[in-house]
């Protein structure tokens, strides 16, 4: 082989190899492990609302009626939330699961945009077969030993707005049952709160109640897999 041909072949090999690496990297970077997006509905200029649920299993959320690969794992109804930038998000969480003790009392307090804040909650009350909800009560914290789950959203340093939000979701007292899809649960505790989004970006949230089982700190299984007790919040 002539020297010039050898150099040409070597250059081509490098370019092809580099191209293959770049294509693979781009494909990986573009891939998302999350399910279909749930958009925050604009209710007025600068405001939007979004509702999700936390279930004691995976039969009523995005995994379908069969519950997917792990029907007995606890889950949030959606793991891919999309909200507008620089907007006040009014969020409602219907909490259907029972509870227990946190391993860090820090998460028994309500945190909104990086500071102590408040939410509201409504506990279902039953009289015979009738379930009623009273007026929303102020929630600034909850009994550390009676937490169902938490919704804990992390900010990203340097992103401009302190997005840290952590809401303790009281354990469901197991009252009259309601049907969600094909599944029957006890009536949920309803928690509502608002926070302000800042600049665009993909942020990450998860539950900080040890509900995953398996490993140290009970953060395995549902806590350590996409699509159950964690998710992404895309601010766009």
């Amino acid at each position: 082989m002539k020297k010039s041909s050898a150099y040409g072949a070597a250059l081509l090999s490098v370019l092809l190899g580099g191209g293959a690496l770049a294509a693979g990297g781009y494909a990986l970077a573009s891939a998302t492990p999350h399910e279909q997006a749930l958009d925050c509905k604009i209710t007025s200029p600068g405001n939007c609302s979004i509702t999700i649920s936390s279930y004691p299993d995976s039969a009523a959320g995005e995994h379908g009626k069969s519950g997917g690969a792990h029907p007995d794992w606890v889950s949030y109804s959606n793991d891919n939330l999309v909200v507008p930038a620089n907007t006040t998000v009014h969020m409602t969480i219907d909490q259907y699961d029972s509870g227990g003790a946190l391993n860090n009392s820090f998460f028994s307090h309500v945190w909104i945009n990086g500071a102590h804040g408040t939410a509201t909650y409504q506990i279902p009350q039953t009289t015979g077969s009738v379930t009623k909800y009273g007026a929303p009560q102020t929630l600034s914290g909850w009994n550390t030993n009676d937490i169902g789950h938490t919704f804990t959203l992390r900010g990203i340093p340097g992103s401009g707005t302190n997005l840290f939000v952590s809401i303790p979701l009281p354990a469901d007292p197991a009252t009259n049952s309601v049907t969600v899809g094909d599944t029957t649960y006890s009536s949920p505790v309803i928690v509502q709160f608002s926070f302000k989004t800042g600049s665009k970006g993909v942020y990450d949230w998860n539950c900080e109640f040890p509900c995953g089982g398996s490993r140290e700190g009970q953060f395995g299984y549902a806590m350590s897999s996409f699509g159950y007790m964690s998710g992404a919040m895309t601010v766009q």
């Binding site: 990086g114 500071a115 992390r154 990203i156 840290f164 490993r215 140290e216």
Partner: protein
């Protein structure tokens, strides 16, 4: 030694000299610019150690590159068959003595410097240190200040006062890293690890987890701020009132 050989060694020496000089210059300027801005004496010592070690390594690295370049350029057999074996280097007393002696001196220097830096890092923790309890768990850091009811997802520190971090984990092993302060230690479940530093510059810094700890390890990052002692007291008071 033939003239050709002699010229070859002179050329190698010149190449080594130029590369060493370039390495020393890069070592003097690059670490301080590539590493995070120093906000404590620990970090200053870390950067200085990096500079000293890089400068010390420059002549060794230059020698390796010089020999590699010279071998690629001159020690190539283009004729037919296998060339006659050269005289083994291990029989060259000057080379072996220089290599062993140089390596020994360099290693002892690095060891002494490293132990000295470690002793300074682990030295006295100052009067009236501020204790901060650091808790790592999947996948958040939380900070509490004993003697108060304040806990926070971000870290607030006063300038000029020694801080004693009491670090623990609630689940798996995490790594508590304040890059700007030269503080990096594992957070282990079931035990409390102590490390201290004294912030000496106002500003913000990032805190990251350095041990792969599961699904959202990459997001286990938060911010800290060094403020004046008066601002720190104000912050404590305001947080205490809200808690």
């Amino acid at each position: 030694m033939s003239d050709k050989q002699s010229n070859g060694y002179k050329g190698m020496f010149f190449t080594w000299l130029v590369m060493t000089a370039a390495g020393v210059v890069i070592s003097l300027y690059a670490p301080a610019r590539l590493m995070p801005t120093s906000m404590s004496d620990n970090m200053h010592l870390t950067i200085l150690t990096m500079v000293i070690f890089s400068v010390s390594a420059a002549p060794v690295a230059a020698l390796v590159y010089t020999v590699a370049l010279h071998a690629l350029r001159h020690w190539v057999h283009r004729g037919e068959g296998v060339p006659a074996a050269a005289k083994p280097v291990r029989e060259n007393g000057v080379v072996v003595t220089s290599w062993v002696l140089g390596s020994t001196i360099l290693t002892i220097f690095l060891l002494v410097w490293g132990l000295g830096a470690l002793a300074v890092d682990n030295g006295g923790n100052g009067k009236n240190p501020l204790v901060v309890n650091v808790t790592g768990q999947q996948w958040l850091w939380t900070f509490s200040y004993p003697g108060t009811n304040v806990s926070s997802p971000t870290l607030e520190l006063p300038e000029g006062r020694t801080v004693d971090f009491h670090i623990r984990a609630l689940d798996v092993t995490h790594g508590f890293w304040i890059s700007n302060m030269g503080v990096q230690v594992d957070a282990n479940a079931g035990t409390t690890t102590e490390i201290h530093t004294t912030p000496n510059a106002l500003g913000t810094f990032d805190i990251r987890c350095t041990q792969f700890c599961g699904l959202n390890h990459a997001f286990m990052v938060t911010t800290g701020t060094v403020v004046t002692p008066a601002q720190f007291q104000q912050w404590l008071t305001s947080q205490s009132a809200k808690a």
